[in-house]
Assembly symmetry: C2
């Protein structure tokens, strides 16, 4: 529905220089408030999630809006109106999301797309495929195939613990699913035949000294956007696809959307999220490779408390007196920003904002609220994860038809 | 065993310019005698198949030498002495060869590596894997996935008709085997992580406007050189590999040999063949895409006769009188050259050479001899091919342990 701004390879290039750096491997900003997302929408040629889309979402689903959508955390999109059209026509689509399993322990930021994806699956009652790009992590990091396979399986347990319905969800790792269904590789080569080195150079910034695995990898992330990659779910029906992901993954899907019509597929629709900032502030996103910037899903209540109190960047003033007078800055305060992601209660969040900005609430109090919100989310996650058996992992990863309501266009 | 001349990427580059062009996609020579193979050995840094190697081959196998080896059609090698060492130690190796299924009908030139490979399998009693690079043909040609899959299966029937032992032979197409065993893709990414775009640019001449599938394809041809790509045959044992192939495929395996030690594998050994010339002469090799340059395995006796009589380049003189006086030139005479490939009887071939070069034998007589040699080879091939059932194709392509004698180093 949005004007298709991105047509030329040159438009697809990720700008560097003085601007925020946002690509699949780097997210940095020179601003304390983090990445300028409005600028990013212009640069990437996507569309803003505006009030009209939110209203339509609520009307079509008949469900109250998810806070991650309402608060602009999922702030940008491509073609989501066309997905809503499909739903209104009583037809089906499917959801595709993923994760790069680079570390054993996921952090709270990693939960965000999965929390939102689960909500999407629940309100639309559609099949969901989740890709673990263990091949990507093998190619980019100093890890062996055996190590990334293990990480993919461990991460799968965390994903399952988010509460996905096993009857509607297929989870796969590239390095294993590739060897279990020829359709995956066959769609990969179809995509690879449509994309030149010049194009991936422009889109991803690859250079001549990059290994050939990196150069062809984008086709492996693109392929699950085409439903025939999963014949046991969709047969040979070309079902439209919606991809919720962080905005740094957009380059992959700009490429995919460019290729889709040439292969006779609908362009995948996208819903982009902002990044959860590092504890130290929004110059960078939370990263699993630096344990002090992140709150892990394996952290104990004590560790959570210590990390928030010690590292969470404060938007408060230098002294209590000054704070009472000038108030805190919620735009740069990590604790407040985290509450936007994890506190569901809209009224309470608004109260906190007012109270902190007016100087009534102090940084210490705000941090305590965050600790009280995060701790049960993480401990409950840990409890659910402990109940994820190896058998259940195998079941989620097994090739099987999925059950879902709206499937009139499936054979 | 040979000095490893090829060490640097710059050494791996295929020379163009005024020299013969020999790469996986082009073979042309400005000389009527065809490619200068001695020069090619120097340029590629391989070793000549010399009398010492031939003698050792005969001693180790205890079998008479195959005419394709004795006559210098398999003229170049890498590390074949190390394979013979392995055999002397009572250990096993395996053979890997392949074919790019670009056309429905194979020609007699395509038989040559398979005739030789079958002999190798018979004398060494070792497992054999045969790769059909349907992905390559899809990426390089104007063909669909469905078309190349069909071509791969049709070509498999011709390969089976060469008489391979189903108990010792695994035939696979990349586009199907990829989806049946995760080890293939896992070895592919291991290789892809060791090779940069700069390197494939140097080795294969790829450029920025080439599609990303071409750029990563070399890893897919390399992977079967490592025995762990076939766990159902070799378990996780790293078994040495011997690759008989035409010299134009050497770039793939120079790359493979460069990567092997870094992945802890033995470098594959190679036996290189010359090209069978086009009917019109040795400037180019016989090609399936130009039906007048090739004798196809589907040709009728009448077609064979017509093509040889009409197109086979003659090394004879302009008139009978001149021919009787000066004699014919066997070096450029296509009919004689074909006899070197297909006439097994050494004494008779020598007689023909003498007789033609002395002017006693005329071109017409030489062509008749070739027709008499080729016709039964092709009609018998057709009869054997007709007996190849779909079930037998499935059996050759099924993932299973292979049976062979020398397997003390296999678990």
């Amino acid at each position: 529905m949005e004007p298709e701004v991105v047509k030329e390879v040159s438009d697809l290039k990720i700008s560097n220089g003085e601007e925020d750096i946002v690509d699949p491997w780097n997210v940095t900003s020179t601003s304390q408030e983090g990445v300028d997302y409005d600028k990013l929408i212009k640069r990437f040629g996507s569309s803003k999630v505006d009030q009209e889309l939110l209203d339509r979402f609520e009307k079509v689903t008949g469900k109250p809006m998810h806070h991650l959508l309402k608060r602009g955390i999922f702030f940008s999109h491509r073609d989501v109106h066309s997905i809503l059209n499909i739903v209104e026509q009583g037809k089906s689509f499917y959801i595709y999301t993923g994760r790069g399993p680079s570390s054993d322990s996921m952090h709270v930021g990693h939960l965000v797309p999965f929390i939102f994806t689960k909500w999407l699956q629940d309100v639309f009652d559609v099949p969901l495929v989740i890709q673990l790009t263990d091949d990507e992590k093998f190619l980019w990091k100093d890890l062996t195939v055996e190590e990334v396979l293990k990480l993919a399986r461990e991460n799968t347990k965390d994903i399952i613990a988010c509460g996905f319905d096993v009857n509607k969800t297929f989870i796969f790792s590239n390095l294993t699913y590739m060897g279990r269904c020829p359709n995956f590789y066959q769609n990969v080569v179809r995509i690879e035949k449509c994309v030149t080195f010049n194009q991936v150079k422009g889109i991803f910034g690859f250079g001549d000294s990059d290994v050939i695995g990196k150069i062809s990898f984008p086709a492996f992330q693109a392929a699950p956007s085409f439903s025939t990659t999963f014949p046991f779910i969709f047969g040979d029906t070309r079902v439209p696809c919606l991809i919720p992901c962080a905005i740094d993954q957009d380059p992959y899907f700009r490429m995919t959307r460019d290729v889709a019509p040439r292969l006779g597929y609908p362009k995948p629709a996208l819903l982009h999220s902002t990044f959860i900032p590092a504890l130290q502030g929004a110059h960078t996103k939370m990263s699993g490779s630096d344990s002090n910037t992140a709150i892990f899903l394996t952290d104990t209540p004590k560790q959570i408390k210590t990390k928030v109190n010690k590292y969470a960047f404060s938007g408060g003033q230098a002294s209590i007196e000054e704070h009472r007078k000038l108030g805190g800055n919620t735009k740069v305060d990590t604790s407040y920003q985290y509450l936007r992601f994890f506190m569901e209660d809209e009224d309470r969040l608004e109260e906190i904002k007012k109270s902190y900005e007016s100087g009534e609430m102090l940084t210490g109090e705000l941090k305590k609220i965050l600790i009280d919100v995060l701790t049960p989310i993480i401990t409950e996650h840990q409890q659910r994860r402990q109940k994820v058996t190896e058998d259940l992992v195998d079941e989620f990863m097994s090739l099987r038809p999925l059950k879902f309501k709206h499937s009139p266009n499936l054979s």
